[in-house]
Subunit: 198 residues, 2 copies
């Protein structure tokens, strides 16, 4: 509580202290085990203030990752059409986010995750709890296969982001999005709902 009663940081200082504590907690304990109460304690603020500033634990995670798009809003739209075509819709949505002004945040996140084990852990937690869990919960497949399916999808999508926006290998780097949706959608569809071995 020292920071609240001591040098009385402004709102900005308090928000940053909460975000620092959140990043540490999510990276060290994982999203599920990290608690708002513990994060508030580390930041020296009341848990109610964390909720007041950031809302839910999901939303705090997005803010801590500096992530500009809320998968909690985007993923349901991908799922809305059912299992058929979910691969193409997921690739189209992924490309839409990366090709938007938000894409630079994605590139910055990848850069940081590759050079920094701490950010890699945060990104892993993010992919798993904010994106894959929401998608996989809706699939009608053997639950035991879900983790492998999810990480296969992540491998193709992160590779697509890398090649299009970081390494910039042509023609993937500047291809029309629908060309990539048509080519990569069936891959993601099979990883999600198809056979994983021949």
């Amino acid at each position: 509580m020292a920071r609240r009663t001591g040098r009385r940081p402004g709102n900005q200082g308090t928000r940053e202290a909460i975000l620092d504590a959140a990043r540490a907690a999510f990276a060290e304990r994982g999203f599920d085990a990290a608690s708002i109460r513990a994060i508030a304690g580390t930041a020296g603020v009341d848990p109610a203030l964390v909720h007041h500033y950031f809302g839910s634990k999901d939303q705090l995670f997005l803010a801590a990752m500096n992530f500009p798009v809320d998968p909690g809003e985007v993923v349901p739209r991908v799922l809305a059409g059912g299992q058929d075509g979910i691969g193409e819709r997921l690739v189209r949505t992924f490309l839409g986010v990366w090709d938007s002004p938000f894409g630079s945040a994605g590139v910055a996140l990848l850069r940081s995750a590759v050079s920094n084990e701490w950010t890699a852990r945060l990104l892993r937690e993010f992919i798993t709890t904010q994106v894959l869990r929401r998608v996989l919960d809706q699939l009608d497949v053997d639950p035991a296969e879900l983790p492998l399916r999810g990480s296969l999808v992540a491998s193709q999508l992160i590779g697509l982001g890398m090649m299009r926006h970081v390494i910039r290998l042509e023609p993937v780097a500047s291809a029309d999005p629908e060309t990539l949706v048509a080519a990569i959608g069936p891959t993601v569809q099979r990883y999600l709902t198809g056979p994983l071995s021949t």
Copy 2:
């Protein structure tokens, strides 16, 4: 020639000067346009010495990238079985290199390419001229589609390397290689020889 007649660097100094000049040339001009003669000129040595130390331009590129495996030896083994099953063989070979002691060089290369545009250019040239060109030349598909096919394969394989060795998302990070070969092989096969749209 100043360096040879001036402070007379040892062999190690000369080799490093050549490798520095090679990295600059390959990144700035691309592999095809870079010449041994120009690289030798920048390093202040005779072109014959470059050949003496490093062999061919391909081999100089491998040395400049600090790349421990020669695609010129590995890729022909992948191709030897013909088009059938080439996807699985390519994934198996890729995993074999990354899972070997050489894998740490791959991780270091990815880390550098993600944070450094210069290394990204070198990696792009490497993927295109040392790996993809060798594979694609052997395929019986529309030549106009080859660049897209190649960069799709690269997106899946780099994504696999990222997830298995850098981000380390489970279960891909510690899956049995043959599980990944069975799951990802058909993707690479389709990118190389199958339909790219539905």
